[in-house]
């Protein structure tokens, strides 16, 4: 295989790999492609309150199940003085707080952060009992209620074609205040909630059903009680209904806490027990959400990446990851434009210094040091020093100049100049040495051209490297470096003309 074909195949492989990893991280792990993306994170707080009897107290709160469209980012329990435990009961998790002696009002808290993701709310199929316990309405005084229930069920059955439409019909009939049968039933079950009654009627109609407890996620809601939904089994799968409107499906924003099962809260050794919820929403940078949601499963891609480093090292890497971008800029300017610079990758180092110092400060400091350094170097060259000693002398001079610039500018109140220390000293010394040789051999004009070219490339590299999209991509998707590598390899195979050559060879065309 020819080297050129190898380059293209390798470059294509690298690009595919990099792009694939990037897309995976974006789609599966939720890392945002664009900077400044925010996601809404809901903080739900459940407050368990009861008045303790004075003896041992125990409170058990059912914890939310896993919900496919709600991602739990983190949970915290607060329980001052209580022993705390999470136990599994059937397929539910319950938080259990216990204390040997408690008296007076007690408050226990459970807080969790969730983040909504697209997708279906509930997994199917659900392994839940489809057994129906028919309501017992045998007594004489219950005859009228029984009649009303069956009349309601019959009407709904006539007006529907399957279990789903039947349920909708039944629920709308129940919610209809003008419906005589409905009023009759509610009149009898005065102390029961709408969902309780609906469950009873559904049982009478032989439809397996249970309740779903949960919350509507709305910002800044306090002391909310849980809301109920209904879930019925239509013979093949479970369908959720909003009880008041009878519309199927889990409402948007509904956070499911408990699906079927027993009580939400059990308290022993206390009375007046209740659970209240409060909800607030925060807008959190999308990357942080992605980091939190992947940290639990310890995705290898995230775990073995820069994110596993301490924050301080991460910020260093943020800069290091920009170097390849600068290198690409140099390659592009060389291969496609044909700009001449002093030292191939010296402009990249300059650009990095500019990132720290800001552009204008950096430019003026660089030019100042270069001019002063050249001036001192001309004197040094008359002293007949050996080359290494002379360059070392220039390094020391550069350091002294940096110190002087820092101190003087600080006294003058120009604090930006303190960033002078970010300049790579050895590189500066070599640049001064090279420039002075160019001056001696090719004259000051060539020095201007080369220094100007280097500065131009450095400024362009700086401009690209400080682009917020580039910064975001290099840091959050380091695998894009593979794509960059592929691009550089392809550019390295470019055999067309450079922009400067279009001027250089123009006489050949005429």
């Amino acid at each position: 295989m020819s080297p050129r074909a190898q380059v293209y195949i390798l470059a294509a492989l690298l690009t595919l790999m990099g792009a694939g990893l990037t897309i995976y991280k974006n789609v599966e792990l939720g890392f945002p492609l664009l900077p400044g993306e925010y996601r809404t994170v809901w903080t739900i707080e459940a407050k368990v309150g009861f008045t303790a009897d004075g003896g041992p107290a125990k409170a058990a709160l059912t914890l939310p199940r896993e919900q496919r469209n709600m991602e739990v980012l983190g949970e915290t329990f607060s329980s001052s003085g209580y022993g705390f435990n999470i136990i599994q009961e059937d397929d539910e998790y319950r938080a259990v707080w216990a204390k040997r002696e408690a008296s007076g009002p007690q408050s226990l808290f459970y807080q969790l952060d969730v983040h909504q993701t697209p997708g279906a709310a509930l997994e199917q199929p659900l392994d839940m009992s489809t057994k129906v316990v028919k309501p017992l309405l045998a007594a004489r005084e219950q005859e009228a209620v029984r009649q009303a229930i069956y009349s309601l069920v019959d009407t709904a059955r006539q007006r529907s074609s399957d279990t789903q439409t039947f349920t909708t019909e039944l629920l709308t009939a129940l919610a209809d205040r003008r419906n005589q049968d409905g009023n009759m039933i509610f009149g009898y079950y005065k102390d029961r909630s709408f969902v309780d009654v609906a469950l009873l009627v559904l049982a009478a109609a032989d439809v397996p059903a249970h309740r779903i407890r949960g919350l509507y996620l709305e910002d800044d809601r306090r002391r909310m009680s849980p809301e109920d939904l209904l879930e019925i089994y239509d013979g093949t799968r479970w369908v959720v209904f909003e009880p008041q409107t009878g519309s199927p499906g889990v409402p948007k924003n509904f956070f499911i806490w408990q699906r079927g099962g027993k009580s939400l809260l059990d308290v022993e050794g206390g009375y007046n027990s209740r659970v209240t919820f409060s909800v607030i929403s925060n807008d959190v940078p999308a990357r942080d959400v992605a980091m939190l949601s992947t940290s639990q499963e310890k995705e290898a891609l995230v775990d073995f990446s820069i994110y596993s480093l301490p924050i301080e090292q991460q910020s260093i890497f943020k800069l290091i990851l920009l170097v390849p971008v600068g290198a690409l800029v140099v390659v592009l300017l060389r291969v496609f434009v044909g700009l001449r610079t002093s030292g191939t990758f010296m402009p990249v180092l300059l650009a990095i210094a500019f990132i720290e110092t800001q552009l204008l400060t950096g430019l003026s400091i660089f030019v100042l040091i270069l001019i002063l350094g050249l001036w001192i170097r001309f004197y040094l060259s008359r002293l007949n020093l050996l080359l290494v000693a002379r360059i070392a002398a220039v390094v020391v001079t550069v350091v002294i100049l940096m110190g002087a610039i820092s101190v003087i500018s600080y006294k003058l109140g120009i604090e930006q100049a303190l960033t002078v220390t970010f300049f790579p000293m050895i590189i500066l010394a070599w640049t001064i040495e090279r420039m002075s040789i160019v001056w001696e051999e090719d004259g000051p004009y060539e020095v201007l051209i080369q220094a100007g070219g280097s500065l131009l490339v450095a400024v362009i590299a700086w401009w690209v490297m400080t682009n917020r999209y580039i910064e975001h991509w290099t840091f959050n998707f380091p695998e894009l470096l593979l794509v960059l590598l592929g691009v550089i390899m392809i550019v390295g195979n470019y055999t067309g003309f450079r922009l400067a050559e279009l001027a250089r060879f123009r006489q050949l065309v005429r």
């Binding site: 040789i437 051209i449 050559e501 001027a503 250089r504 050949l508």
Partner: protein, 328 residues
């Protein structure tokens, strides 16, 4: 390259350049240097001491080597070498782009004279030797070796075509076939240097005859030397066939497929190989007013039998096939 010269007249279309068979820098690097020049043969041309040694082996005439310093020489040793000399050249063995070459053409008491007439002291020369040795002029600043060469006794035939400097002839040899040649004449503007981008005149030399066919300064076609006002149409390189043969034989000597040979004419010894270059520049196209690529591609199309021909056959073929079109 002066920016004003670069952008005067604007840009031309890359397709037009392509049609004219012009070779660009990127194409040169990828298609010719990387493909035909093996890396392990670079040391032969990158180190001028190696070039000289190899040239001796192949009986290619070169300027006489007076001394070479492998290590940092003592003051006495340097003086011991240059004391008896009137004319000599100090060069770094691995210098690039003609950097670090010090030419001494005479003595003035204890001082030495440069071609421009400027005086240089013995101390200056010692410092220059020390600089070369420290790697100031070599690529990447690697320690270098110093060579002291006899100054070539230039053939006076070019005297009127060169101002202050040393005219040399560059021949591009591709797979053993000379493909293009030019003469570089220094001018007042170029400060005695033979670099085209500093203002030296590039004179395209017809491979068939050794006569000038085209001349360019600052990318503009000229008919006469700007300082001496000599017409280039009268210029003819003596011993042309011998010179082309010398260039062609550098292929066997270096083993490099794409090669630039720098040749000077000595009054008594004829053409001498000054140095060989594995990355010859593209200015030769401007000097000749002709693109290189068409010629290179012609040779790439040759069959193996043709490529294995001897030096004389190759020279004959090139001189016939790459003859310049009549000047017009």
């Amino acid at each position: 390259m002066h920016l004003s010269y670069l952008f005067r007249g604007g840009l031309v279309s890359p397709f037009a350049l392509n049609r004219r068979g012009v070779l660009g820098m990127n194409a040169r690097n990828v298609n010719y240097i990387a493909r035909y020049n093996d890396r392990d043969k670079y040391p032969i041309v990158d180190d001028k001491l190696n070039t000289k040694r190899q040239a001796k082996r192949y009986r290619i005439p070169v300027p006489e080597l007076i001394a070479a310093f492998e290590t940092q020489p003592s003051r006495r040793r340097v003086m011991g070498v240059i004391e008896p000399l009137d004319k000599f050249v100090i060069k770094p063995a691995r210098g690039s782009g003609g950097k670090g070459i010090l030419v001494i053409v005479g003595r003035d008491g204890d001082d030495y004279l440069k071609p421009s007439g400027a005086k240089v002291t013995a101390l200056d020369i010692q410092r220059h030797v020390s600089n070369i040795h420290s790697g100031l002029y070599s690529l990447g600043g690697k320690p270098d070796r110093v060579m002291i060469e006899a100054l070539v006794d230039f053939d006076p035939v070019f005297d009127k075509y060169s101002y202050e400097g040393v005219p040399d002839i560059r021949v591009i040899v591709f797979r053993g076939y000379p493909v293009m040649a030019m003469l570089r004449c220094s001018t007042h503007v170029s400060d005695g240097k033979a670099n085209l981008h500093q203002g030296a005149v590039g004179v395209g030399v017809d491979l068939a005859t050794g006569k000038s066919c085209h001349a360019v300064q600052h990318g503009v076609r000229i008919d006469q030397h700007p300082d001496t006002e000599m017409r280039f149409s009268d210029l003819e390189v003596p011993d042309w066939k011998e010179l082309v043969r010398l260039a062609a034989s550098c292929y066997e000597m270096t083993g490099l497929g794409y090669l630039g040979c720098d040749i000077v004419l000595d009054r008594r010894r004829g053409p001498l190989l000054l140095e060989a270059n594995a990355r010859p520049g593209l200015a030769i196209q401007i000097a000749n007013g002709v693109g290189l690529r068409t010629r290179l591609e012609h040779i790439e199309k040759m069959d193996l039998e043709q490529l294995e021909k001897g030096v004389d056959e190759r020279v004959a073929y090139s001189m016939d096939y790459f003859a310049a079109e009549p000047m017009g």
